[in-house]
Symmetry: C2
Subunit: 321 residues, 2 copies
């Protein structure tokens, strides 16, 4: 359950299908992010580049903007930038913990400038997110983002506590995914627009996003994911494919995860795949995507807005079809 | 310029001099903190204890409450808890970076549960601070705390950038102190009460606090500070005593800080002390305390409130007299 990072989300397809307002607004978000990060100072220019790249395809900002629709003012642009700053902060801190040398093919802040700088850069990005919203009177967004940030940290803690435990329940895994991934997607959608249907839409696609990321870690292929199969297993992160596989092949739960080497991790991945667990997880993720789209239900959206939201949802699956 | 931690601030004297409202309110803050931290979950009970202890004497919460005065509602209690959560978060993250085994004689979160947990615990404390304020509609406090948090991280970055540089200017050092220490004191005072005089009061005592902490790192004695002399020098943190000493004894600026061992650090401390730099820094800090008290000026305070604020200011100096 590495936080999704290695796979481009379906942003291009959505941008292609959108009329001009969405690309224009995403451009405003990008400028705002660049402004916030440029203020790190000259000596941090290298880290700033790395940080700008770390967030990837701006899926969360796009969700904020799409849920808000084309008619909204500056609020959604601020919210979109703030949620991406928090996302970046978590990635920078993750790289400190994993001592990761590369993210998306670029040197991480941790690798370029050391753990100390990276911890402080993460704290700075995090603080800036709240400062940006507060300075512009975006109180509702502050509350949503703070709650989501609490959930992110709780999810991270839960994952560390569960490390190398092959006996965790499906429920525990799903709770972790909700905290660590789905809650920020939910926050993005709620920042864009109030309502239970928005919360459910965001939460379901966030969960599906994480489930499919965990399938990818086991199933690869590495040439598409950019990382070796079984990376999560080597970190001790037990995900749904393993949990379901162990129900079919109980010896999997007896594996000595702390003793795994990369070759052993790939072997374990094959064994998990042989149980059919990957197809099952994929199919559950698909059902989540359907539930997400159903949640939009009869709520009033602009026709283009609804189409694009469905396209984002479908795109989460198409990454893996 | 280790963030002040090892010396009990002058809380006891203030509590002794105060009528019942202040201890009662500090008790409310303590309960609120305990509530927030207890939610870390059972498995983190040990870390929760450590975290509660990490902040020490609650100097920043006391400033919030004192500046607000006895007549205020729940707002200052929330603000006081939130600022302490941010302070705790920075300490937990500092201990990750320094891999510190002990803080105030207790095992740090980093030592007890590993860097990974400690980074996440710090992020959680930080998020909770904003969530607590946002959930209670404390918008002004959110804005102040977010700004102060940005400054804290900027100060940390500046300090890392300046590491081992014996040629930094006095101005650069003071700017760093403002970001890393004084801004949070200023925030505490402004959370309690609006006004330029509160900002100046907080900022000046925060600066004095840091200057005197830096004197203590050079001058000790270790049996009072609980840490070896020259700890900052070993970390590469160049502070005002060294900067002033180097102006008198230029060879000090030529010292090979990265090559220092603990014995060498103590020798360098002696050499700095021999220039009279410690007395000079102390005297500057005293002038800051006078400026802080003068800033309160003719503003209307309850008589007890003014007396206690002055007592806090004096207490910052008395720690070292």
């Amino acid at each position: 359950m590495t936080r999704p990072s290695s796979v481009p989300p379906p942003v291009t397809a959505v941008l292609d299908a959108s009329s001009r307002w969405l690309p224009a607004r995403l451009g405003q978000v990008e400028n705002l992010l660049r402004e916030q990060i440029a203020e790190h100072g000259e000596a941090l220019a290298h880290d700033a580049e790395t940080t700008m790249a770390a967030g990837g395809k701006r899926l969360r900002p796009m969700l904020v903007l799409l849920c808000a629709g084309s008619g909204e003012g500056e609020g959604p642009v601020l919210a979109a930038a703030a949620i991406e700053l928090v996302h970046m902060a978590t990635l920078v801190h993750d790289d400190v913990l994993d001592a990761a040398p590369l993210r998306r093919g670029k040197e991480t802040v941790a690798a370029a400038s050391g753990r100390e700088m990276a911890t402080a850069v993460g704290d700075l990005l995090f603080s800036r997110a709240f400062a940006l919203l507060a300075a512009n009177g975006e109180e509702r967004a502050v509350g949503l983002l703070a709650q989501a940030s609490v959930a992110l940290a709780q999810g991270e803690l839960a994952q560390r506590q569960d490390a190398f435990d092959t006996t965790i329940s499906e429920q525990r895994y799903l709770d972790r995914c909700r905290l660590k991934t789905a809650k920020l997607f939910e926050c993005a959608c709620l920042m864009g627009r109030e309502g239970e249907e928005m919360a459910q839409f965001g939460s379901e696609i966030g969960l599906a996003f994480q489930l499919l990321d965990d399938v990818l870690d086991v199933g690869g292929p590495p040439e598409r994911t950019g990382k070796a199969r079984g990376t999560d297993l080597l970190d001790g992160t037990v995900t749904l494919p393993l949990i379901l596989a162990a129900a079919v092949d109980p010896a999997i739960a007896e594996m000595d995860l702390p003793g795994l080497d990369p070759a052993g991790a790939v072997e374990l991945c094959d064994r998990i795949a042989a149980t059919g667990a990957l197809a099952e997880v994929r199919s559950r993720a698909l059902r989540m995507i359907e539930a997400a789209k159903a949640a939009l239900g009869s709520a009033a959206f602009e026709p283009e807005q609804r189409r694009l939201l469905e396209l984002v949802a479908d795109g989460v699956v198409q990454r893996y079809s």
